[in-house]
Symmetry: C2
Subunit: 494 residues, 2 copies
């Protein structure tokens, strides 16, 4: 670990390497023996579990139930929705056989050629098709609607260039799939769920996001409208952190799902789908961390407070740990998660660095003088400041401090994000801001896919979203000079 | 639903059809478009989630952490552990390609022959190989041990004959994988976890189980010892409900995982693995249910109490629902999960039948006379009895009743299970008991695989386990007449 701590790349030197180092050295995840697939290590998984628990409760509080649908999708299902097949049935894992046999040459096992599937199965890249094929059996009349299902699952998209959490061949996610009697209801659901994601990002991840519509180019394959939350990373690149799609009747028509309305007429069902993934882990890391390691918002930190004895000799260690146990019990009593590190084989300075790397929000260090004075050293990870405080009243103080840290991390990220939104009115400005400052560029766009593609080809920047709260404003497209009614946000992105 | 309720097969007529009907009509699961893969419906998944939450807490309370390992396993990994490959690398889903392309003939999509993987990937049937390949990077010295990881995941075993929950191609499970410095520690872990499963089965599922060793024939492929919990279903067949394996150094040797001990010597690491799956859903259903439907133990019931107004006219419905809301709030205050069914489009009798089918432990029905007398009708699902009780003191009464039902269900299952353990001393008796009564047969066995196989071929019964708590007893093998030191449990099984 000592070696690992030293080797953390500085964010300014190489942001991408800093990110990768951090994920690995903080024990969040690592690459596996299978190309593009990651191992999520216990510390990383503990953060993901906290995210899951909060999101799951938010979904249930908004009336959703969990279910589970098959990992495999028959190949032919993808061809049923024209645009969906283009978007999803290309780079994917294809199961062609269902049996191995001993190698006739005696070396290990080989695929049994006699066990070829009649129709290949695709490992789900997303589940609209298999779910709408299932919903067909669940829906007869308006009384069966709405269906408000979510599933927590793994999905596979065969990415050629992968990065831990941000883009992996297999990733974990949740996908909500809802069925409604009317267009309005499905649209309302789509909007409701993007606001659930917004609330989660801001209140739990302490990460400000812009909510908006995707441009038609960037829409989910098979959607009539895609809403998204977009976050700004510290290197000036945007990160799409969650999406919610209004699917119209595309999938109900593809899978022939109709319902009998109150007047006895058969109508196609309306749909939404929405999801967030382990990509949020990447967003969380890049939104707050620094050259010393992770900075975790207290609400998602698996360990919120670490307690460390600064001792001389075994006897003192025992007395100190006893005192720390008492403090820990009081903190736990307030629902705070704590860890006492009484290891005697590493030095305190090493422990300090390790917990900074792991982003533990608060560190309490108890030294010999603190034992005499009934004080303790309290350090916060977000500001790297410390002070000696009385042990009396510590639980209240720590509880308040955790809230304060959560707010401070959010405020810092919000100030940064706000400073990274630059309105520009000319194509020269657009290019210059993108290359020097980065961040979101707020610019007029003529609304055509052609212009968006041309801008992307020229600069690698895409329209991240058309913000929901944008005020109408007449202008001219920064690229084509054609008229525009509203600014949109461009950025380079993850 | 009315039609569905009527059509539930009687358990005595056809147990297997009764089971299948029940799973489908109670809305627990259904078959999907993918052969052998099921859809777990919201009500079934809600029960599984309750199981997961309890088990997850038990694992964490015993020091385990969750992590996540890849869905895919390189084919060559299976060949590294000799007996493991025999057991697991045969009937499995094989990924051979990573891309589809538009059919040159213009009909949908086809596998792109240029996108063939160099090495095929197997969809994990269990994860020992990929996990031990990962642990190699995590373990250097005794200070890195023990590793106590669990993962919640989906796995795939290509079964030819599938049954909802009991045997499906894809199923959900948890798999614990631990690494230890010594044989003793790994064996202790193996034993500890089978007792966690035993406690879960008995205290939460209200299902008595026998804990024992598997015979060498029935061991996990790659294990030195397999411990199991075996439950008795109402039709006299046994169901293996959980297993915990002592893996010795088999996987550490296959993947070359060594650690430096305190004396500076390199040693191979010792291992255990343990798991339970959605098969537990099948066990839960078959342990308690009856011809009216599911009987759920209150501790795992997603809805513990249903409240139904027996009303005439809309106005009365509103008043009654108001009263029921008050009662529901009081019940919720005690942590009881409740549902009020105020639907006005189905009759009360229909609702009663529906909640019996779904196994809701307690039903409260409020009629006009109850409104006058401040009483309510209380019915319990396990005994199908009902009584009119005062509304005063109802929350305490219901809370106590739920505990009583949990106990009663367990006691009933225990009495049944005990009645289904038959000691036999001759081969004739063995066959007769098996064909007439079924259940567990407690008999002497000479300890050889040959005898076990011969008995299986003659009767389809296998050794379910060699009970941990069996008392040594000299005898002769019921089949071979050779000497034996202990009785073992035989049964036909799921």
């Amino acid at each position: 670990m000592a070696k690992e701590l030293k080797d953390l790349t500085k964010a300014d030197d190489n942001y991408s390497q800093w990110y990768n180092d951090l994920v690995i050295k903080a024990g969040l995840a690592e690459n596996s023996a299978v190309r593009g697939c990651m191992v999520i290590k216990p510390y990383g998984y503990a953060i993901w579990e906290k995210m899951q628990a909060v999101l799951d409760k938010m979904f249930k509080d908004t009336g959703h139930e969990n279910a589970y649908f098959p990992l495999f999708i028959p190949k032919s299902f993808f061809s049923k929705e024209a645009s969906h097949v283009e978007g999803f049935a290309k780079e994917c894992a294809v199961v062609t056989h269902y049996r191995l046999m001993n190698d006739p040459d005696g070396k290990g096992v080989v695929v049994d050629p006699d066990a070829k599937l009649e129709e290949e199965l695709i490992v789900r890249p997303t589940s609209e098709t298999i779910i709408w094929n299932t919903y067909k059996g669940w829906i007869q009349s308006y009384r069966d609607l709405p269906i408000l299902c979510n599933q927590w699952a793994n999905v596979v998209r065969w990415e050629m260039r992968t990065r831990l959490f941000l883009r992996t061949a297999e990733f974990l996610w949740q996908e909500g799939h809802t069925a409604h009697a009317t267009r309005e209801e499905a649209q309302e659901e789509t909007l409701k769920m993007i606001h659930v994601y917004e609330k989660f990002a801001q209140e739990w991840m302490a990460m400000p996001v812009v909510v908006g519509h995707k441009s038609p180019n960037e829409r989910f394959a098979g959607a009539e409208d895609t809403l998204c939350i977009e976050a700004m990373m510290q290197d000036g690149k945007a990160l799409q952190s969650g999406t919610s799609h209004f699917l119209g009747q595309n999938f109900s028509k593809a899978f022939d799902v109709k319902y009998l309305d109150k007047e006895g007429k058969l109508e196609y069902v309306w749909a939404s789908s929405w999801g967030v993934s382990t990509r949020l882990m990447g967003a969380l890391i890049m939104a707050h961390s620094d050259n010393n390691g992770l900075v975790l918002p207290p609400k998602l930190a698996p360990i919120q407070v670490v307690l460390i004895p600064i001792y001389k000799g075994e006897e003192q260690l025992a007395t100190m740990v006893e005192r720390l146990e008492k403090i820990a019990a009081e903190l736990r009593g307030r629902g705070i998660s704590v860890k006492i590190d009484g290891r005697d084989n590493v030095r305190s300075g090493f422990k300090f660095a390790e917990y900074e790397l792991k982003g533990i929000p608060v560190r309490l260090a108890l030294g010999p003088r603190d034992m005499e004075n009934d004080t303790i050293e309290l350090a916060r990870r977000d500001t790297l400041t410390k002070e000696v405080v009385p042990q009396a009243g510590l639980p209240e103080r720590v509880e308040k401090l955790l809230d304060e840290i959560q707010e401070n991390i959010y405020k810092k990220a919000l100030d940064f994000r706000n400073s990274m939104v630059t309105p520009v009115d000319t194509w020269e400005q657009f290019q210059e801001v993108l290359d020097t400052k980065g961040g979101f560029i707020s610019a007029h766009w003529d609304g055509t896919p052609e212009t968006e593609i041309a801008i992307k080809e020229a600069t690698k920047a895409t329209i991240r979203c058309i913000p929901l709260d944008a005020t109408p404003e007449d202008g001219v497209c920064v690229f084509s000079g054609k008229p525009s009614k509203q600014r949109v946000l461009f950025a380079r992105s993850y």
